[in-house]
């Protein structure tokens, strides 16, 4: 379908982007790679009256490691993550996730900032940001990931707020990510990420609730010495899936438990 009509502007700075968003009002949207937004616009599920294209803003494409953090600019694309040597060292689980996002064509355009701002529970990076206590940096403030994802496709961003970077703690422990799907380029029907940080484990769930979820109950069980299988049995309290055309809620709960156990085993056996 042809999208609804909109105005289009390409600001040269974050400040200019903010004033354009103020000028255009509530129904304006920021666009980066557009790989989630444009399909939604084509279905007319989203009808922004203006698009503020941030592709030309300098300084949003860098990956910087400092002290215990790695800061990833909002315009860093999936393909950039796949090829980035710093990330391979400092946050290898993100590189593994990037390898499985969409397909080459999508990875050449889609950005990490876009995934975060879109706030989709199916966005792989969102569950990782949540479970690792990442910070979402904008032109106005720093959000804790735990306060950022509010509801389905709903984040804490104000209408004139632009995501400029995402800051993750450097995470070099054992990890694994399982993305369960029917076809290679699909979103996860269910995704489970696990990352060892120090002596404990973090667990994140993709597309198993209206927002990304942290596997807090599973993490507690693991901290208490439970086996992977026993900890995985706690996954039901961490998620709240709804049925859709691809799977019933019951099946997704089953998947979450099985995949949690498998992903933990994969991570511990990889070492």
């Amino acid at each position: 379908m042809i999208t609804a009509a909109f105005e289009y502007a390409r600001p040269g700075s974050v400040d200019e982007a903010q004033s354009l968003l103020t000028k255009y009002g509530d129904d304006a949207k920021v666009i980066a790679g557009g790989q989630s937004l444009i399909p939604l616009m084509r279905l007319r599920l989203s009808q922004p009256t203006a698009l503020v294209d941030i592709q030309g803003i300098h300084g949003l494409k860098e990956v910087r490691r400092d002290n215990g953090s790695v800061e990833i600019g909002a315009l860093v694309r999936h393909v950039d993550i796949q090829r980035n040597a710093t990330l391979r060292e400092a946050l290898p689980i993100l590189v593994e996730m990037a390898n499985d996002v969409g397909d080459n064509q999508v990875r050449n355009l889609g950005t990490i900032g876009g995934v975060i701002a879109h706030g989709d529970a199916a966005g792989d990076y969102n569950a990782l940001a949540l479970m690792l206590d990442a910070e979402i940096v904008t032109n106005k403030r720093r959000h804790k990931a735990s306060d950022f994802f509010r509801d389905i496709f709903t984040t804490a961003l104000e209408h004139d707020e632009v995501v400029t970077a995402v800051r993750f703690p450097v995470s070099t422990g054992r990890f694994a990510y399982t993305k369960f799907r029917r076809r290679l380029y699909d979103w996860a029907i269910a995704g489970v990420a696990v990352q060892e940080t120090g002596s404990s484990w973090r667990v994140g769930y993709v597309n198993l609730a209206r927002t990304p979820r942290r596997g807090a109950s599973v993490e507690r069980a693991l901290a208490g010495g439970a086996s992977a299988a026993d900890a995985a049995a706690e996954s039901g309290s961490d998620i709240d899936p709804t049925g859709d055309v691809r799977a019933t809620a019951e099946y997704k709960r089953h998947l979450a438990q099985v995949l949690t156990a498998r992903t933990l085993e994969k991570a511990t056996m990889a070492a």
Partner: protein, 175 residues
């Protein structure tokens, strides 16, 4: 309300006035008259509309023309150089990497990008590299054969040229 867009298509700069909502694939086909880029699924799944922007494969049904302003777009029409088919085109011809042919331009563009990134892909890497393209005739085996053959040709091996093929077809059959 239209906006002015300047971009380069297959090495030729052009400027047009377009509505911001005009998708790149519609611009290429309807404004620039380059109908080799096909529209099929229209929902960014099938890859029939794959083109290169600044040398990178993208689905032109999921890019607005205005986003491509200032960039270098290559379509299937721009792959052949001075009448000589690109090695990927040649390999699709030689190996018959198609059935109905509708998905072919997208597959060739995706394969050309894949081979630029990875000149000697394994079979698994070819499958992964073309995951964003669908062939509803399911002619994947010959498509993979064509990519392998193009890879060999581009790495210094020899692939038959179309002229040879036409010549041999016209030559008397032995025996």
């Amino acid at each position: 309300m239209t906006q002015s867009v300047s971009l380069t298509i297959n090495g030729r700069p052009r400027e047009d006035h377009v509505e911001p909502r005009l998708l790149l694939v519609h611009y290429l086909r309807e404004v620039a008259g380059l109908t080799g880029t096909h529209i099929a699924c229209d929902t960014s799944q099938c890859g029939a509309c794959t083109v290169l922007i600044d040398g990178e494969a993208v689905k032109s049904c999921s890019v607005f023309t205005v986003q491509a302003a200032g960039k270098d777009v290559t379509t299937i029409e721009g792959l052949a150089q001075e009448g000589t088919l690109h090695p990927v085109q040649q390999a699709f011809w030689n190996e018959h990497g198609l059935q109905c042919g509708f998905c072919t331009p997208g597959f060739i563009m995706a394969a050309a990008y894949l081979l630029k990134q990875n000149p000697s892909p394994t079979d698994a890497e070819i499958e992964r590299g073309l995951e964003g393209n669908l062939c509803r005739c399911t002619g994947y085996e010959n498509i993979k054969k064509a990519v392998r053959s193009a890879s060999q040709a581009m790495n210094g091996g020899t692939a038959e040229t179309s002229a040879n093929l036409v010549g041999s077809a016209a030559a008397p059959v032995e025996g």
